[in-house]
Protein backbone atom coordinates (compact mmCIF):
# COMPACT_ATOMS: atom_id res chain seq x y z
CA UNK A 1 0.00 0.00 0.00
CA UNK A 2 1.22 3.48 -0.81
CA UNK A 3 -0.79 5.75 1.47
CA UNK A 4 -2.24 5.74 4.96
CA UNK A 5 -5.99 6.26 4.86
CA UNK A 6 -8.08 7.97 7.53
CA UNK A 7 -9.16 4.48 8.57
CA UNK A 8 -5.52 3.42 9.02
CA UNK A 9 -4.71 6.55 11.00
CA UNK A 10 -7.74 5.99 13.23
CA UNK A 11 -6.62 2.39 13.74
CA UNK A 12 -3.20 3.74 14.78
CA UNK A 13 -4.82 5.85 17.49
CA UNK A 14 -6.98 3.05 18.87
CA UNK A 15 -4.00 0.69 18.66
CA UNK A 16 -1.96 3.17 20.69
CA UNK A 17 -4.74 3.22 23.28
CA UNK A 18 -4.70 -0.58 23.46
CA UNK A 19 -0.92 -0.70 23.91
CA UNK A 20 -0.92 2.06 26.53
CA UNK A 21 -3.62 0.28 28.52
CA UNK A 22 -1.77 -3.04 28.17
CA UNK A 23 1.51 -1.47 29.33
CA UNK A 24 -0.03 0.88 31.89
CA UNK A 25 1.47 -0.88 34.91
CA UNK A 26 4.91 -1.03 33.28
CA UNK A 27 4.85 2.68 32.40
CA UNK A 28 3.81 3.63 35.91
CA UNK A 29 6.45 1.32 37.37
CA UNK A 30 9.17 3.00 35.26
CA UNK A 31 7.83 6.42 36.30
CA UNK A 32 7.77 5.46 39.98
CA UNK A 33 11.53 4.96 39.87
CA UNK A 34 12.50 8.31 38.36
CA UNK A 35 9.30 10.37 38.32
CA UNK A 36 5.93 10.80 39.99
CA UNK A 37 4.47 7.37 39.18
CA UNK A 38 1.61 8.61 37.03
CA UNK A 39 2.69 8.19 33.40
CA UNK A 40 0.80 4.93 32.85
CA UNK A 41 -2.42 6.03 34.49
CA UNK A 42 -2.26 9.53 32.94
CA UNK A 43 -1.72 8.20 29.42
CA UNK A 44 -4.33 5.46 29.81
CA UNK A 45 -6.92 8.01 30.98
CA UNK A 46 -5.97 10.33 28.13
CA UNK A 47 -6.08 7.70 25.39
CA UNK A 48 -9.38 6.26 26.64
CA UNK A 49 -10.81 9.77 26.39
CA UNK A 50 -9.29 10.17 22.92
CA UNK A 51 -10.88 6.98 21.58
CA UNK A 52 -14.20 8.03 23.12
CA UNK A 53 -14.02 11.48 21.51
CA UNK A 54 -13.12 10.07 18.09
CA UNK A 55 -16.01 7.60 18.30
CA UNK A 56 -18.44 10.28 19.41
CA UNK A 57 -17.58 12.62 16.53
CA UNK A 58 -15.91 10.75 13.67
CA UNK A 59 -13.40 13.18 12.13
CA UNK A 60 -13.72 14.11 8.46
CA UNK A 61 -10.00 14.16 7.68
CA UNK A 62 -6.52 13.72 9.15
CA UNK A 63 -6.31 17.29 10.44
CA UNK A 64 -9.59 16.91 12.35
CA UNK A 65 -8.61 13.49 13.71
CA UNK A 66 -5.29 14.67 15.12
CA UNK A 67 -6.76 17.89 16.46
CA UNK A 68 -9.29 15.86 18.44
CA UNK A 69 -6.50 13.59 19.68
CA UNK A 70 -4.25 16.51 20.68
CA UNK A 71 -6.88 18.63 22.41
CA UNK A 72 -8.30 15.65 24.29
CA UNK A 73 -4.84 14.72 25.58
CA UNK A 74 -4.17 18.32 26.65
CA UNK A 75 -7.29 18.31 28.80
CA UNK A 76 -7.22 14.79 30.22
CA UNK A 77 -3.63 13.62 30.76
CA UNK A 78 -2.72 16.08 33.53
CA UNK A 79 1.06 15.63 33.57
CA UNK A 80 3.69 16.98 31.20
CA UNK A 81 2.74 14.27 28.69
CA UNK A 82 -0.51 16.20 28.13
CA UNK A 83 1.00 19.32 26.56
CA UNK A 84 3.83 17.29 24.98
CA UNK A 85 1.76 14.58 23.24
CA UNK A 86 -0.94 17.21 22.72
CA UNK A 87 1.52 19.39 20.83
CA UNK A 88 2.78 16.36 18.88
CA UNK A 89 -0.69 15.55 17.55
CA UNK A 90 -1.77 19.16 16.95
CA UNK A 91 1.37 19.85 14.87
CA UNK A 92 1.00 16.48 13.15
CA UNK A 93 -2.56 17.33 12.17
CA UNK A 94 -1.66 20.85 11.09
CA UNK A 95 1.05 19.53 8.79
CA UNK A 96 -1.10 16.66 7.48
CA UNK A 97 -3.89 19.03 6.49
CA UNK A 98 -7.48 18.38 5.46
CA UNK A 99 -6.80 15.15 3.62
CA UNK A 100 -7.89 11.56 4.11
CA UNK A 101 -4.76 9.98 2.62
CA UNK A 102 -1.09 10.48 3.49
CA UNK A 103 1.70 8.82 1.53
CA UNK A 104 5.02 7.91 3.15
CA UNK A 105 6.62 11.29 2.42
CA UNK A 106 3.62 13.31 3.61
CA UNK A 107 3.19 11.29 6.80
CA UNK A 108 6.95 11.57 7.41
CA UNK A 109 6.76 15.36 7.07
CA UNK A 110 3.80 15.45 9.47
CA UNK A 111 5.66 13.28 12.01
CA UNK A 112 8.64 15.63 11.72
CA UNK A 113 6.39 18.63 12.45
CA UNK A 114 5.01 16.81 15.50
CA UNK A 115 8.46 15.89 16.83
CA UNK A 116 9.81 19.40 16.34
CA UNK A 117 6.74 20.70 18.19
CA UNK A 118 7.59 18.45 21.14
CA UNK A 119 11.19 19.63 21.07
CA UNK A 120 10.08 23.28 21.15
CA UNK A 121 7.40 22.74 23.80
CA UNK A 122 9.66 20.87 26.22
CA UNK A 123 12.83 22.80 25.31
CA UNK A 124 14.58 19.42 25.45
CA UNK A 125 17.37 18.13 23.24
CA UNK A 126 18.42 14.61 22.27
CA UNK A 127 20.19 12.92 25.18
CA UNK A 128 18.13 14.68 27.88
CA UNK A 129 16.40 11.34 28.67
CA UNK A 130 12.95 12.26 27.38
CA UNK A 131 10.41 11.02 24.84
CA UNK A 132 12.46 12.89 22.20
CA UNK A 133 15.16 10.22 22.50
CA UNK A 134 12.74 7.74 20.92
CA UNK A 135 10.82 10.21 18.75
CA UNK A 136 13.64 11.94 16.87
CA UNK A 137 15.48 8.73 15.86
CA UNK A 138 12.16 7.31 14.67
CA UNK A 139 11.42 10.32 12.46
CA UNK A 140 15.02 10.36 11.20
CA UNK A 141 14.71 6.67 10.26
CA UNK A 142 11.38 7.32 8.54
CA UNK A 143 12.87 10.09 6.41
CA UNK A 144 15.97 8.05 5.57
CA UNK A 145 13.78 5.15 4.46
CA UNK A 146 11.61 7.41 2.29
CA UNK A 147 14.68 9.02 0.74
CA UNK A 148 15.96 5.54 -0.12
CA UNK A 149 12.71 4.76 -1.91
CA UNK A 150 11.05 2.60 0.76
CA UNK A 151 7.29 2.25 0.83
CA UNK A 152 5.04 3.23 3.72
CA UNK A 153 5.27 -0.10 5.53
CA UNK A 154 9.07 -0.21 5.31
CA UNK A 155 9.38 3.39 6.54
CA UNK A 156 7.04 2.68 9.46
CA UNK A 157 8.97 -0.46 10.31
CA UNK A 158 12.31 1.36 10.27
CA UNK A 159 10.84 4.08 12.48
CA UNK A 160 9.50 1.57 15.00
CA UNK A 161 12.88 -0.16 15.23
CA UNK A 162 14.65 3.18 15.71
CA UNK A 163 12.18 4.23 18.43
CA UNK A 164 12.79 0.95 20.30
CA UNK A 165 16.55 1.46 20.06
CA UNK A 166 16.18 5.06 21.20
CA UNK A 167 14.07 3.95 24.16
CA UNK A 168 16.71 1.40 25.21
CA UNK A 169 19.44 4.02 24.82
CA UNK A 170 17.79 6.20 27.48
CA UNK A 171 18.75 3.70 30.21
CA UNK A 172 22.30 4.99 30.93
CA UNK A 173 21.36 8.66 30.44
CA UNK A 174 21.16 11.23 33.22
CA UNK A 175 17.85 13.11 33.03
CA UNK A 176 18.09 16.81 32.31
CA UNK A 177 14.38 17.58 31.88
CA UNK A 178 11.21 16.88 33.80
CA UNK A 179 10.62 15.42 37.23
CA UNK A 180 13.45 12.88 36.76
CA UNK A 181 15.99 15.69 36.46
CA UNK A 182 15.55 16.36 40.19
CA UNK A 183 17.26 13.00 40.74
CA UNK A 184 20.36 13.99 38.75
CA UNK A 185 22.86 11.12 38.53
CA UNK A 186 20.45 8.78 40.29
CA UNK A 187 18.26 8.80 37.16
CA UNK A 188 20.95 6.88 35.25
CA UNK A 189 20.34 3.14 34.92
CA UNK A 190 16.58 3.48 34.44
CA UNK A 191 14.57 3.47 31.21
CA UNK A 192 12.68 6.67 30.53
CA UNK A 193 8.89 6.26 30.73
CA UNK A 194 8.20 8.93 28.09
CA UNK A 195 10.55 7.28 25.61
CA UNK A 196 8.83 3.98 26.41
CA UNK A 197 5.36 5.27 25.55
CA UNK A 198 6.75 6.94 22.42
CA UNK A 199 8.22 3.62 21.29
CA UNK A 200 4.69 2.17 21.66
CA UNK A 201 3.40 5.03 19.51
CA UNK A 202 5.67 4.03 16.63
CA UNK A 203 5.13 0.29 17.13
CA UNK A 204 1.39 0.81 16.80
CA UNK A 205 1.84 3.02 13.74
CA UNK A 206 3.84 0.23 12.08
CA UNK A 207 1.19 -2.33 13.04
CA UNK A 208 -1.65 -0.16 11.74
CA UNK A 209 0.11 0.47 8.42
CA UNK A 210 1.07 -3.19 8.02
CA UNK A 211 -2.43 -4.45 8.79
CA UNK A 212 -4.10 -2.07 6.34
Amino acid sequence: MTAATLETLTAWISGFRDQIVQHQAELTELDSVIGDADHGSNMARGMEAVVGAVKATPPADAAALFKTVGMTLVSTVGGASGPLYGTFFLRLGGAAGATSELDAAALGAALRAGAEGVRTRGKAEPGDKTMLDAMLPAVDAWETAVAAGSDLAAAASAAADAADAGRDATIPLVARKGRASYLGERSAGHQDPGATSTALLFTTLRDAVTAA
Partner: protein, 243 residues
Amino acid sequence: MIGFVVVSHSRPLAEAAVALATQMVAEGPPPIEIAAGSADGGFGTDAAAIAAAIDRLDASEDVVVLMDLGSAVLSAEMALEFVERPDRVHLSPAPFVEGLVAAVVLAATGADWASIRTELGGAYAQKAHHLEAGSDESAPTPPAPERAPADDEASFEAVVINPSGLHARPAATFVKTAARFDALVEIENVDAGSGPVSAASLLALIALGIGRGARVRVRARGREAQPAIDALRALVEDGFGEA
Protein backbone atom coordinates in the same frame (compact mmCIF):
# COMPACT_ATOMS: atom_id res chain seq x y z
CA MET B 1 -6.72 46.16 37.18
CA ILE B 2 -4.18 43.46 36.38
CA GLY B 3 -5.69 39.98 36.48
CA PHE B 4 -4.11 36.78 37.73
CA VAL B 5 -4.35 33.12 36.77
CA VAL B 6 -2.99 30.63 39.28
CA VAL B 7 -1.88 27.35 37.73
CA SER B 8 -1.06 24.39 39.93
CA HIS B 9 -1.12 20.60 39.82
CA SER B 10 -3.28 20.76 42.91
CA ARG B 11 -6.50 22.71 43.40
CA PRO B 12 -6.14 22.84 47.20
CA LEU B 13 -2.59 24.17 46.78
CA ALA B 14 -3.80 26.89 44.40
CA GLU B 15 -6.72 27.82 46.64
CA ALA B 16 -4.46 28.08 49.69
CA ALA B 17 -1.93 30.21 47.80
CA VAL B 18 -4.71 32.54 46.68
CA ALA B 19 -6.06 32.76 50.24
CA LEU B 20 -2.58 33.63 51.52
CA ALA B 21 -2.21 36.39 48.94
CA THR B 22 -5.69 37.89 49.23
CA GLN B 23 -5.51 37.91 53.02
CA MET B 24 -3.08 40.81 52.57
CA VAL B 25 -5.40 42.81 50.32
CA ALA B 26 -8.71 42.05 51.96
CA GLU B 27 -10.14 45.43 51.03
CA GLY B 28 -9.76 45.05 47.28
CA PRO B 29 -8.03 42.05 45.74
CA PRO B 30 -7.36 42.02 41.99
CA PRO B 31 -9.32 39.54 39.87
CA ILE B 32 -7.85 36.03 40.28
CA GLU B 33 -8.80 32.85 38.41
CA ILE B 34 -7.63 29.35 39.30
CA ALA B 35 -6.79 26.63 36.77
CA ALA B 36 -5.56 23.72 38.84
CA GLY B 37 -5.89 19.97 39.26
CA SER B 38 -7.45 17.40 36.99
CA ALA B 39 -11.15 17.24 36.23
CA ASP B 40 -11.56 14.27 38.58
CA GLY B 41 -10.00 16.14 41.51
CA GLY B 42 -6.50 14.65 41.23
CA PHE B 43 -3.18 16.26 40.39
CA GLY B 44 -2.80 17.71 36.92
CA THR B 45 -2.77 20.74 34.66
CA ASP B 46 -4.82 21.46 31.55
CA ALA B 47 -3.78 23.95 28.86
CA ALA B 48 -7.37 24.38 27.66
CA ALA B 49 -8.58 25.16 31.19
CA ILE B 50 -5.74 27.68 31.63
CA ALA B 51 -6.67 29.38 28.37
CA ALA B 52 -10.32 29.55 29.46
CA ALA B 53 -9.29 31.09 32.80
CA ILE B 54 -7.21 33.73 31.00
CA ASP B 55 -10.06 34.57 28.65
CA ARG B 56 -12.48 34.94 31.58
CA LEU B 57 -10.36 37.93 32.71
CA ASP B 58 -11.47 39.85 29.66
CA ALA B 59 -11.59 43.19 31.51
CA SER B 60 -7.90 43.09 32.47
CA GLU B 61 -5.36 44.85 30.27
CA ASP B 62 -2.64 42.53 31.54
CA VAL B 63 -2.91 38.99 32.85
CA VAL B 64 -0.13 37.49 34.96
CA VAL B 65 0.07 33.69 35.15
CA LEU B 66 1.72 32.13 38.22
CA MET B 67 2.69 28.46 37.87
CA ASP B 68 4.03 25.74 40.11
CA LEU B 69 6.31 23.22 38.44
CA GLY B 70 6.76 20.97 35.41
CA SER B 71 3.63 20.51 33.35
CA ALA B 72 2.13 23.67 34.85
CA VAL B 73 4.74 25.62 32.90
CA LEU B 74 4.34 23.57 29.71
CA SER B 75 0.55 23.79 29.87
CA ALA B 76 0.64 27.56 30.46
CA GLU B 77 2.95 28.04 27.49
CA MET B 78 0.63 25.94 25.38
CA ALA B 79 -2.40 27.90 26.60
CA LEU B 80 -0.94 31.00 24.93
CA GLU B 81 -1.71 29.30 21.60
CA PHE B 82 -5.39 29.05 22.51
CA VAL B 83 -6.19 32.42 24.13
CA GLU B 84 -7.88 35.28 22.34
CA ARG B 85 -5.26 37.97 23.18
CA PRO B 86 -1.88 36.34 23.92
CA ASP B 87 0.00 39.66 23.87
CA ARG B 88 -1.54 40.75 27.19
CA VAL B 89 -0.55 37.51 28.98
CA HIS B 90 2.68 37.32 31.02
CA LEU B 91 4.08 34.06 32.43
CA SER B 92 5.77 34.73 35.78
CA PRO B 93 9.32 33.40 36.32
CA ALA B 94 8.96 33.87 40.09
CA PRO B 95 8.60 31.11 42.70
CA PHE B 96 4.90 30.27 42.91
CA VAL B 97 3.96 31.54 46.37
CA GLU B 98 6.38 34.48 46.61
CA GLY B 99 5.46 35.68 43.13
CA LEU B 100 1.72 35.42 43.72
CA VAL B 101 1.73 37.19 47.08
CA ALA B 102 4.04 40.01 45.98
CA ALA B 103 2.31 40.58 42.65
CA VAL B 104 -1.20 40.54 44.13
CA VAL B 105 -0.23 43.06 46.81
CA LEU B 106 1.38 45.31 44.21
CA ALA B 107 -1.56 44.99 41.82
CA ALA B 108 -3.91 46.03 44.62
CA THR B 109 -1.96 49.29 44.89
CA GLY B 110 -2.74 49.93 41.23
CA ALA B 111 0.80 49.12 40.10
CA ASP B 112 1.25 48.60 36.38
CA TRP B 113 2.71 45.57 34.66
CA ALA B 114 6.21 47.11 34.46
CA SER B 115 6.43 47.39 38.26
CA ILE B 116 5.06 43.92 38.80
CA ARG B 117 7.47 42.47 36.26
CA THR B 118 10.41 43.91 38.22
CA GLU B 119 9.08 42.41 41.43
CA LEU B 120 8.53 38.99 39.87
CA GLY B 121 11.95 38.99 38.23
CA GLY B 122 13.63 39.58 41.58
CA ALA B 123 11.45 37.26 43.65
CA TYR B 124 13.90 34.38 43.75
CA ALA B 125 16.91 36.64 44.44
CA GLN B 126 15.15 38.21 47.42
CA LYS B 127 14.87 34.88 49.22
CA ALA B 128 18.39 33.83 48.27
CA HIS B 129 19.70 37.16 49.50
CA HIS B 130 17.96 36.77 52.82
CA LEU B 131 19.29 33.25 53.37
CA GLU B 132 22.81 34.11 52.26
CA ALA B 133 23.07 37.44 54.07
CA GLY B 134 26.21 37.54 56.19
CA SER B 135 27.59 34.34 54.70
CA ASP B 136 28.11 35.24 51.07
CA GLU B 137 29.13 38.68 49.92
CA SER B 138 28.30 37.80 46.34
CA ALA B 139 24.62 37.31 47.15
CA PRO B 140 22.30 39.32 44.92
CA THR B 141 21.38 42.65 46.39
CA PRO B 142 17.82 43.90 46.57
CA PRO B 143 16.79 46.26 43.79
CA ALA B 144 18.27 49.72 44.35
CA PRO B 145 15.72 52.46 44.92
CA GLU B 146 15.06 54.62 41.92
CA ARG B 147 16.41 58.15 42.08
CA ALA B 148 14.11 60.97 41.14
CA PRO B 149 14.89 64.61 40.65
CA ALA B 150 15.12 65.81 44.23
CA ASP B 151 12.24 68.10 44.82
CA ASP B 152 10.82 67.57 48.27
CA GLU B 153 12.57 65.22 50.66
CA ALA B 154 11.53 63.96 54.05
CA SER B 155 12.56 61.16 56.36
CA PHE B 156 12.11 59.65 59.78
CA GLU B 157 13.62 56.99 61.99
CA ALA B 158 11.56 54.81 64.27
CA VAL B 159 11.65 51.56 66.16
CA VAL B 160 9.33 48.80 64.99
CA ILE B 161 7.15 47.80 67.92
CA ASN B 162 4.71 45.24 66.60
CA PRO B 163 5.37 41.70 67.82
CA SER B 164 6.56 40.02 64.65
CA GLY B 165 8.20 43.05 63.06
CA LEU B 166 7.76 43.87 59.40
CA HIS B 167 6.46 40.43 58.41
CA ALA B 168 4.36 39.91 55.33
CA ARG B 169 1.13 41.63 56.29
CA PRO B 170 2.57 44.82 57.82
CA ALA B 171 5.06 44.95 54.96
CA ALA B 172 2.16 44.79 52.50
CA THR B 173 0.43 47.60 54.37
CA PHE B 174 3.65 49.62 54.17
CA VAL B 175 3.93 49.05 50.38
CA LYS B 176 0.30 49.94 49.82
CA THR B 177 0.52 53.09 51.93
CA ALA B 178 3.72 54.25 50.21
CA ALA B 179 2.10 53.69 46.81
CA ARG B 180 -0.71 56.14 47.60
CA PHE B 181 1.66 59.12 47.40
CA ASP B 182 3.50 60.79 44.56
CA ALA B 183 6.89 60.06 46.09
CA LEU B 184 9.70 57.55 45.84
CA VAL B 185 9.99 55.86 49.21
CA GLU B 186 12.88 53.77 50.48
CA ILE B 187 13.45 52.02 53.75
CA GLU B 188 16.49 50.58 55.49
CA ASN B 189 17.11 48.42 58.53
CA VAL B 190 19.50 50.63 60.48
CA ASP B 191 20.51 47.98 63.03
CA ALA B 192 21.32 45.33 60.45
CA GLY B 193 22.76 47.78 57.95
CA SER B 194 20.54 46.27 55.24
CA GLY B 195 18.98 48.39 52.53
CA PRO B 196 17.88 50.90 51.61
CA VAL B 197 15.37 49.23 49.30
CA SER B 198 12.44 50.60 47.38
CA ALA B 199 9.17 50.52 49.31
CA ALA B 200 7.54 49.51 46.02
CA SER B 201 8.88 45.97 46.47
CA LEU B 202 7.13 43.80 49.04
CA LEU B 203 9.72 41.06 48.76
CA ALA B 204 12.62 43.48 49.16
CA LEU B 205 10.98 44.84 52.30
CA ILE B 206 10.48 41.40 53.76
CA ALA B 207 14.09 40.50 52.89
CA LEU B 208 15.35 43.37 55.07
CA GLY B 209 14.54 41.10 58.00
CA ILE B 210 13.11 43.85 60.19
CA GLY B 211 12.12 42.29 63.51
CA ARG B 212 10.55 43.72 66.64
CA GLY B 213 12.77 46.39 68.18
CA ALA B 214 14.65 47.08 64.96
CA ARG B 215 15.26 50.69 64.02
CA VAL B 216 14.23 51.66 60.50
CA ARG B 217 15.01 54.75 58.47
CA VAL B 218 12.46 55.78 55.86
CA ARG B 219 13.13 58.43 53.23
CA ALA B 220 10.80 59.89 50.64
CA ARG B 221 11.47 62.13 47.66
CA GLY B 222 8.91 63.78 45.42
CA ARG B 223 5.97 66.10 45.44
CA GLU B 224 4.19 64.30 48.30
CA ALA B 225 7.29 63.30 50.28
CA GLN B 226 6.12 64.91 53.54
CA PRO B 227 2.58 63.48 53.59
CA ALA B 228 4.01 60.06 52.65
CA ILE B 229 6.44 60.22 55.56
CA ASP B 230 3.68 61.39 57.94
CA ALA B 231 1.47 58.47 56.98
CA LEU B 232 4.26 55.88 57.14
CA ARG B 233 5.56 57.19 60.48
CA ALA B 234 2.07 56.90 61.93
CA LEU B 235 1.84 53.32 60.66
CA VAL B 236 5.17 52.24 62.13
CA GLU B 237 4.72 54.04 65.45
CA ASP B 238 1.23 52.63 65.76
CA GLY B 239 2.64 49.11 65.34
CA PHE B 240 0.58 48.67 62.17
CA GLY B 241 -2.41 48.36 64.44
CA GLU B 242 -0.97 45.08 65.79
CA ALA B 243 0.96 46.25 68.82
